[in-house]
């Protein structure tokens, strides 16, 4: 009798889970990104505007202090132009205290070689290179008066999953005081556009205003590696 009760208890027992909603807020410096109209300045004092800002986030992992982790295999395309895209929800996250989050900015090599895909990885999202197969991991477009491109355009299309031009960057963010996952939990992550153009390499828009293939791509990727922080 006891055995049966124990069995029933074991079968019906599932660890309680909750959902984690992550909001990505895009900033330039200390202010929220405003497309087209706001004028910003880079480290060299060169002014610029932003007309487009979108990037892939994938392989999201939430880690507990004891090393156990929750892993999501989905890809998300965060697009400043689409409010809904900036909020993603991870479901069935085991309850408990999580001390860090990690994810990649980019798309891993497997998903770059898997043929026709859908949802966030659908090539209709204009984040796909056709002449040299692969996803554009991050797209920032805008203008700067010092840009030598036609129309003073800034065009940063950063991608590439193969060495030596691999632009996938793993972002690891410790969560101060931990995050207690209960039924519905919120996490705010900040992405700072200005970090694209500084540390470790300060970008001079009069010299580099267009990156659309492997030339200079890893320089920008090294810069965006520290673009994120927890709000």
């Amino acid at each position: 009798m006891f055995c049966i009760a124990a069995l029933v208890a074991a079968m019906s027992f599932t660890a309680p889970t909750g959902s984690v909603t992550i909001t990505f807020s895009n900033y330039v410096g200390s202010s929220l990104l405003k497309l087209d109209s706001a004028i910003y300045k880079n480290e060299l004092g060169q002014s610029y505007t932003v007309s487009k800002f979108k990037y892939y986030v994938g392989n999201i992992q939430l880690k507990k202090a004891d090393g156990t982790k929750y892993v999501s295999d989905k890809y998300y395309l965060i697009n400043e132009e689409e409010a809904a895209s900036k909020q993603i929800t991870l479901s069935n996250v085991p309850e408990g205290n999580y001390t860090s989050i990690s994810f990649i900015l980019g798309v891993d090599s497997l998903h770059n070689c898997s043929g026709a895909q859908t949802d966030a990885l659908d090539p209709v999202n204009a984040m796909f290179w056709t002449w040299n197969t692969g996803y554009i991991f991050l797209k920032m477009e805008g203008k700067s008066p010092v840009s030598t491109q036609p129309g003073h355009l800034l065009e940063f299309h950063i991608g590439g999953y193969m060495q030596p031009n691999n632009c996938i960057r793993t972002i690891n963010l410790p969560i101060k005081n931990g995050m207690q996952v209960v039924e519905k939990t919120m996490l705010h992550i900040k992405a700072n556009v200005s970090d694209l153009f500084k540390t470790p390499t300060s970008i001079d828009f009069s010299k580099i205003s267009s990156v659309t293939d492997f030339h200079n791509a890893t320089t920008i990727a090294n810069n965006y590696a520290d673009m994120f922080s927890i709000q």
Binding site: C113, G115, A116, P123, V124, W131, T133, H215
Partner: protein, 350 residues
């Protein structure tokens, strides 16, 4: 006089019969047997395995319709089949470089479509890594079909014939780029050429002439290291000594890898159906196979990235070249060139 009458009557009857066949459902209907994955035993294992994309008659038929439909181009003027012609093993017959919308010219020769599932990458520079995503390149190229993938999906969704065909193929009304690309991969992926006289010779079903056999021996001694049997390519990229054309500015594989050692390296193309796919080279600069062999034996240019085989040199007499060309023509596969499964379904308008 009487005999002439009989001859003409017989000709008319033959025409009527063949037209009746082309006009019949049997010619156009794709059966389960038509889409069976049945690969030549002497070929290696395919790279593209149709994983999550097992061909079905309805999906293949949809892929065929899309392949021949100019709806995939911006101004509905250019279909895939416009440049990839069946009679030329799906290369562009007698065209050195590709043609696109508004009469625009590309910078490379249209490659034939055959035995694609044994290729690990696509295009002359190998920039495309999967058969399924290959069509996005010509579709979006501004001097080819110049269309936006999202706009194609919009156009297909409002087209009643396509709505019905997608529903028929997938059992629901979803039309997206993934389905579009997968059915195109079914259509092009099943283009397999393995019934040339060379293949039949290997299988003991046909014989080759003395000249053709001599050509085969010379080919194996001088050419087969790159043009490896039975696919007639080793899927590598090599500099075969072509002079850099400063009007095209095409440095080949270097544009993909960013590595100087890849300067002027291009895909080693298969030689199957080579008789039908002229002109030759990535920019169609040679019109005849004789010119190609003269290039390899005499006129190639020495540059630092020249392939090692050419550094050593290839020596063929004029008679040898004639025999090699005789052999190359045994690679013409009429079964493939006239395969009804790959014919333009718009031929029948009803």
């Amino acid at each position: 006089m009487k005999r002439k009458h009989i001859y003409i009557s017989a000709l008319i009857i033959a025409c009527v019969i063949s037209l009746a066949f082309i006009g019949s459902d049997k010619y156009w209907t794709i059966t389960a047997n038509d889409v069976k994955l049945d690969f030549p035993v002497n070929f290696p294992k395919p790279v593209y395995t149709f994983k999550d994309n097992t061909p079905t008659p309805a999906e293949f038929t949809l892929g065929r319709k899309l392949f021949y439909d100019p709806i995939l181009s911006r101004d509905s003027s250019i279909s895939c089949g416009f440049c990839h012609q069946r009679i030329a093993a799906f290369a562009h017959f007698d065209h050195p470089i590709s043609h696109g919308i508004n009469g625009l010219l590309g910078k490379r020769n249209v490659p034939p479509l055959q035995n694609l599932i044994w290729q690990n990458s696509f295009m002359w520079d190998g920039g495309v890594n999967n058969l399924e995503v290959q069509p996005i390149s010509p579709i979006t190229n501004h001097v080819e079909m110049a269309e936006d993938l999202g706009h194609i999906i919009t156009k297909l969704k409002r087209n009643k014939t396509y709505a019905a065909m997608f529903n028929d193929a997938f059992g629901d009304t979803i039309i997206n780029s993934q389905r579009l690309l997968k059915v195109l991969a079914q259509f092009t992926g099943l283009m397999v050429s393995n019934n040339s006289r060379y293949d039949k010779y290997l299988r003991g079903e046909d014989t080759l002439s003395a000249a053709e056999l001599h050509g085969l021996k010379l080919f194996r001694d001088n050419c087969a290291q790159c043009h490896k049997e039975p696919l007639f390519t080793d899927n590598s990229y090599r500099n075969n000594g072509l002079k850099y054309d400063s009007t095209f500015h095409d440095s080949g594989r270097m544009a993909i890898t960013g590595n100087k050692i890849d300067f002027m390296k291009f895909r080693v193309p298969s030689l199957r159906n080579i008789e039908m796919t002229y002109p030759y080279m990535h920019d169609g600069r040679f019109h005849t196979l004789k010119q190609v062999l003269d290039h390899y034996t005499q006129t190639f240019i020495r540059t630092p990235t020249l392939d090692g085989i050419l550094v050593k040199g290839i020596s063929l007499s004029e008679q040898d070249k004639t025999d090699v060309i005789s052999f190359l023509k045994t690679l013409t596969d009429k079964t493939f060139l006239y395969d009804r499964r790959f014919a333009d379904p718009n031929f029948v308008r009803n």
